[in-house]
Protein backbone atom coordinates (compact mmCIF):
# COMPACT_ATOMS: atom_id res chain seq x y z
CA UNK A 1 0.00 0.00 0.00
CA UNK A 2 1.10 3.53 -0.74
CA UNK A 3 -1.30 5.28 1.55
CA UNK A 4 -0.11 8.80 0.78
CA UNK A 5 -0.74 8.21 -2.93
CA UNK A 6 -4.08 6.52 -2.35
CA UNK A 7 -2.75 3.37 -4.00
CA UNK A 8 -4.26 0.75 -1.75
CA UNK A 9 -3.63 -2.37 -3.81
CA UNK A 10 -0.21 -4.00 -4.08
CA UNK A 11 -1.04 -6.73 -6.56
CA UNK A 12 -3.81 -8.65 -8.21
CA UNK A 13 -3.55 -12.25 -7.06
CA UNK A 14 -6.34 -13.72 -9.15
CA UNK A 15 -9.04 -12.55 -11.50
CA UNK A 16 -11.79 -14.61 -13.11
CA UNK A 17 -13.90 -12.74 -15.63
CA UNK A 18 -16.24 -15.69 -16.14
CA UNK A 19 -17.10 -15.79 -12.46
CA UNK A 20 -16.69 -12.02 -12.29
CA UNK A 21 -14.52 -11.97 -9.22
CA UNK A 22 -11.09 -10.68 -8.27
CA UNK A 23 -8.65 -11.17 -5.42
CA UNK A 24 -5.96 -8.67 -4.49
CA UNK A 25 -3.28 -8.40 -1.84
CA UNK A 26 -2.06 -5.39 0.07
CA UNK A 27 0.37 -5.00 2.94
CA UNK A 28 -0.30 -2.23 5.40
CA UNK A 29 2.93 -0.23 5.68
CA UNK A 30 4.84 -0.30 8.94
CA UNK A 31 5.44 3.42 8.79
CA UNK A 32 3.22 6.13 7.31
CA UNK A 33 2.41 9.73 8.08
CA UNK A 34 -1.22 8.57 8.23
CA UNK A 35 -0.42 6.75 11.45
CA UNK A 36 0.97 9.90 13.03
CA UNK A 37 -2.57 11.15 13.31
CA UNK A 38 -4.52 7.90 13.28
CA UNK A 39 -3.70 7.48 16.10
CA UNK A 40 -0.75 8.88 18.10
CA UNK A 41 0.59 5.99 20.13
CA UNK A 42 -1.88 3.53 18.59
CA UNK A 43 -1.46 3.32 14.80
CA UNK A 44 -4.52 1.94 13.05
CA UNK A 45 -5.38 1.57 9.39
CA UNK A 46 -8.29 4.03 8.88
CA UNK A 47 -11.57 2.35 8.07
CA UNK A 48 -12.21 4.72 5.18
CA UNK A 49 -9.01 3.49 3.55
CA UNK A 50 -10.15 -0.11 3.96
CA UNK A 51 -13.32 0.87 2.13
CA UNK A 52 -11.20 2.58 -0.52
CA UNK A 53 -9.19 -0.65 -0.86
CA UNK A 54 -12.43 -2.54 -1.52
CA UNK A 55 -13.49 0.13 -4.01
CA UNK A 56 -10.16 -0.02 -5.86
CA UNK A 57 -10.26 -3.82 -5.97
CA UNK A 58 -13.79 -3.62 -7.36
CA UNK A 59 -12.64 -1.01 -9.85
CA UNK A 60 -9.89 -3.26 -11.20
CA UNK A 61 -12.45 -5.99 -11.81
CA UNK A 62 -14.88 -3.69 -13.59
CA UNK A 63 -12.07 -2.11 -15.61
CA UNK A 64 -10.99 -5.56 -16.72
CA UNK A 65 -14.53 -6.53 -17.66
CA UNK A 66 -14.69 -3.35 -19.74
CA UNK A 67 -11.27 -4.04 -21.25
CA UNK A 68 -9.93 -0.78 -19.80
CA UNK A 69 -12.12 1.24 -22.15
CA UNK A 70 -14.11 2.76 -19.30
CA UNK A 71 -13.37 4.19 -15.86
CA UNK A 72 -15.04 3.33 -12.57
CA UNK A 73 -15.78 5.91 -9.89
CA UNK A 74 -17.00 5.14 -6.39
CA UNK A 75 -20.68 6.10 -6.11
CA UNK A 76 -21.96 4.51 -2.93
CA UNK A 77 -21.05 2.19 -0.09
CA UNK A 78 -23.70 0.16 1.66
CA UNK A 79 -23.74 -2.21 4.59
CA UNK A 80 -20.14 -1.41 5.41
CA UNK A 81 -18.91 -3.26 8.46
CA UNK A 82 -15.46 -2.69 9.95
CA UNK A 83 -15.07 -5.79 12.05
CA UNK A 84 -11.56 -5.68 13.47
CA UNK A 85 -8.64 -3.31 13.94
CA UNK A 86 -6.05 -3.38 11.18
CA UNK A 87 -2.51 -2.70 12.33
CA UNK A 88 0.68 -1.73 10.48
CA UNK A 89 2.27 -4.73 8.80
CA UNK A 90 -0.92 -6.70 8.27
CA UNK A 91 -1.17 -8.50 4.95
CA UNK A 92 -4.68 -8.08 3.62
CA UNK A 93 -6.56 -10.13 1.07
CA UNK A 94 -9.22 -8.09 -0.68
CA UNK A 95 -11.88 -9.81 -2.72
CA UNK A 96 -14.70 -8.47 -4.83
CA UNK A 97 -17.44 -10.11 -6.83
CA UNK A 98 -19.70 -8.43 -9.37
CA UNK A 99 -23.32 -8.70 -8.30
CA UNK A 100 -24.88 -6.70 -11.11
CA UNK A 101 -23.67 -4.89 -14.20
CA UNK A 102 -26.11 -2.14 -15.04
CA UNK A 103 -26.08 0.56 -17.67
CA UNK A 104 -23.40 2.95 -16.45
CA UNK A 105 -23.01 1.39 -13.05
CA UNK A 106 -21.90 -1.80 -11.34
CA UNK A 107 -22.70 -3.30 -7.94
CA UNK A 108 -20.18 -5.48 -6.17
CA UNK A 109 -19.84 -7.33 -2.90
CA UNK A 110 -16.38 -6.81 -1.45
CA UNK A 111 -14.58 -8.03 1.63
CA UNK A 112 -11.20 -7.85 3.30
CA UNK A 113 -9.54 -10.63 5.25
CA UNK A 114 -6.39 -10.89 7.30
CA UNK A 115 -4.97 -14.38 7.77
CA UNK A 116 -8.33 -15.75 6.67
CA UNK A 117 -10.28 -13.78 9.25
CA UNK A 118 -12.92 -11.23 8.19
CA UNK A 119 -11.76 -7.63 8.56
CA UNK A 120 -14.48 -5.69 6.76
CA UNK A 121 -17.07 -5.97 4.03
CA UNK A 122 -19.42 -3.76 2.06
CA UNK A 123 -21.56 -3.51 -1.02
CA UNK A 124 -19.91 -1.12 -3.45
CA UNK A 125 -21.62 0.74 -6.29
CA UNK A 126 -19.40 2.16 -9.01
CA UNK A 127 -20.34 4.55 -11.75
CA UNK A 128 -18.86 3.32 -15.01
CA UNK A 129 -18.25 5.89 -17.71
CA UNK A 130 -15.97 7.02 -20.47
CA UNK A 131 -12.53 8.20 -19.40
CA UNK A 132 -12.65 11.97 -18.88
CA UNK A 133 -9.36 12.32 -20.75
CA UNK A 134 -6.64 10.33 -22.46
CA UNK A 135 -4.11 11.06 -19.74
CA UNK A 136 -6.15 9.18 -17.13
CA UNK A 137 -6.76 6.30 -19.53
CA UNK A 138 -3.02 5.94 -20.04
CA UNK A 139 -2.23 6.26 -16.35
CA UNK A 140 -4.75 3.56 -15.49
CA UNK A 141 -2.97 1.15 -17.80
CA UNK A 142 0.32 1.96 -16.08
CA UNK A 143 -1.27 1.43 -12.66
CA UNK A 144 -2.76 -1.84 -13.86
CA UNK A 145 0.70 -3.02 -14.85
CA UNK A 146 2.05 -1.93 -11.47
CA UNK A 147 -0.44 -4.16 -9.63
CA UNK A 148 0.32 -7.01 -11.99
CA UNK A 149 -2.90 -6.81 -13.92
CA UNK A 150 -1.51 -7.80 -17.25
CA UNK A 151 -3.50 -7.42 -20.47
CA UNK A 152 -3.71 -11.21 -20.63
CA UNK A 153 -5.23 -11.42 -17.15
CA UNK A 154 -7.57 -8.57 -17.86
CA UNK A 155 -8.73 -9.92 -21.18
CA UNK A 156 -8.84 -13.61 -20.39
CA UNK A 157 -9.31 -13.72 -16.66
Amino acid sequence: MRLEYFQLIDRVVDINLTERRISCEATVPSVSTVFEGHFPGFPLMPGVLLIEAMAQTSGWLVSSINKFKRMSFLASVKEAKLRTFVLPGYVLNIESKLVHEGSGYAVLDAKVKNSGKPVCDATITLRVMEFPNEELAGEMLKMAARVGLTPEMALNG
Binding site: A75, S76, H100, E101, G102, S103, Y105, R127
Partner: protein, 93 residues
Protein backbone atom coordinates in the same frame (compact mmCIF):
# COMPACT_ATOMS: atom_id res chain seq x y z
CA UNK B 1 -48.81 -1.55 -16.97
CA UNK B 2 -50.52 -1.02 -13.64
CA UNK B 3 -48.59 -3.82 -11.92
CA UNK B 4 -45.35 -2.52 -13.38
CA UNK B 5 -46.16 0.93 -12.08
CA UNK B 6 -46.99 -0.49 -8.65
CA UNK B 7 -43.67 -2.29 -8.52
CA UNK B 8 -41.59 0.74 -9.46
CA UNK B 9 -43.61 3.04 -7.19
CA UNK B 10 -42.95 0.70 -4.29
CA UNK B 11 -39.25 0.56 -5.19
CA UNK B 12 -39.05 4.36 -5.29
CA UNK B 13 -40.93 4.71 -2.00
CA UNK B 14 -38.63 2.27 -0.27
CA UNK B 15 -35.37 3.39 -1.86
CA UNK B 16 -35.88 7.14 -1.51
CA UNK B 17 -38.11 7.24 1.56
CA UNK B 18 -40.88 8.97 -0.36
CA UNK B 19 -44.47 8.45 0.84
CA UNK B 20 -46.03 5.85 -1.45
CA UNK B 21 -49.29 7.77 -1.81
CA UNK B 22 -47.44 10.78 -3.24
CA UNK B 23 -46.15 8.70 -6.17
CA UNK B 24 -48.55 8.61 -9.13
CA UNK B 25 -48.27 7.46 -12.75
CA UNK B 26 -48.00 11.13 -13.71
CA UNK B 27 -45.09 11.80 -11.33
CA UNK B 28 -41.81 12.83 -12.91
CA UNK B 29 -39.05 11.05 -11.02
CA UNK B 30 -36.69 14.01 -11.18
CA UNK B 31 -38.90 17.09 -11.34
CA UNK B 32 -41.73 15.97 -9.06
CA UNK B 33 -40.14 13.44 -6.74
CA UNK B 34 -36.70 15.08 -6.54
CA UNK B 35 -34.80 11.89 -7.21
CA UNK B 36 -31.16 12.58 -8.06
CA UNK B 37 -28.87 10.53 -10.27
CA UNK B 38 -27.30 8.64 -7.38
CA UNK B 39 -30.63 7.59 -5.95
CA UNK B 40 -31.72 6.64 -9.43
CA UNK B 41 -28.82 4.18 -9.60
CA UNK B 42 -30.32 2.38 -6.61
CA UNK B 43 -33.74 2.47 -8.25
CA UNK B 44 -32.33 1.16 -11.51
CA UNK B 45 -30.57 -1.66 -9.66
CA UNK B 46 -33.81 -2.63 -7.93
CA UNK B 47 -35.79 -2.43 -11.20
CA UNK B 48 -33.16 -4.46 -13.06
CA UNK B 49 -33.38 -7.15 -10.38
CA UNK B 50 -37.17 -7.10 -10.12
CA UNK B 51 -37.79 -7.41 -13.85
CA UNK B 52 -34.67 -9.24 -14.98
CA UNK B 53 -33.74 -6.48 -17.39
CA UNK B 54 -31.07 -3.84 -17.84
CA UNK B 55 -32.49 -0.34 -18.01
CA UNK B 56 -30.53 1.43 -20.76
CA UNK B 57 -29.85 4.50 -18.64
CA UNK B 58 -26.82 5.59 -20.61
CA UNK B 59 -28.71 5.44 -23.89
CA UNK B 60 -31.62 7.39 -22.44
CA UNK B 61 -29.33 10.02 -20.94
CA UNK B 62 -27.54 10.39 -24.27
CA UNK B 63 -30.82 10.77 -26.14
CA UNK B 64 -31.93 13.50 -23.75
CA UNK B 65 -28.55 15.25 -24.02
CA UNK B 66 -28.74 15.11 -27.80
CA UNK B 67 -32.25 16.54 -27.82
CA UNK B 68 -33.66 13.37 -29.36
CA UNK B 69 -35.89 12.68 -26.35
CA UNK B 70 -37.32 14.51 -23.38
CA UNK B 71 -36.90 13.42 -19.79
CA UNK B 72 -40.69 13.00 -19.69
CA UNK B 73 -40.41 10.04 -22.06
CA UNK B 74 -38.32 8.07 -19.61
CA UNK B 75 -38.82 9.57 -16.18
CA UNK B 76 -42.57 10.18 -15.95
CA UNK B 77 -43.46 6.98 -14.17
CA UNK B 78 -46.22 5.79 -16.50
CA UNK B 79 -43.75 6.17 -19.36
CA UNK B 80 -41.01 4.45 -17.39
CA UNK B 81 -43.41 1.57 -16.72
CA UNK B 82 -44.16 1.34 -20.44
CA UNK B 83 -40.43 1.26 -21.28
CA UNK B 84 -39.95 -1.50 -18.71
CA UNK B 85 -42.82 -3.50 -20.20
CA UNK B 86 -41.18 -3.16 -23.62
CA UNK B 87 -37.85 -4.37 -22.27
CA UNK B 88 -39.50 -7.32 -20.53
CA UNK B 89 -41.38 -8.20 -23.72
CA UNK B 90 -38.20 -7.93 -25.79
CA UNK B 91 -36.40 -10.22 -23.37
CA UNK B 92 -39.09 -12.87 -23.75
CA UNK B 93 -39.29 -12.58 -27.55
Amino acid sequence: MSSTFETIANIIAETCDIPRDSITPESHAINDLGIDSLDFLDIAFAIDKAFGIKLPLEQWTQEVSDGKATTDQYFVLKNLAARIDELVAAKGA
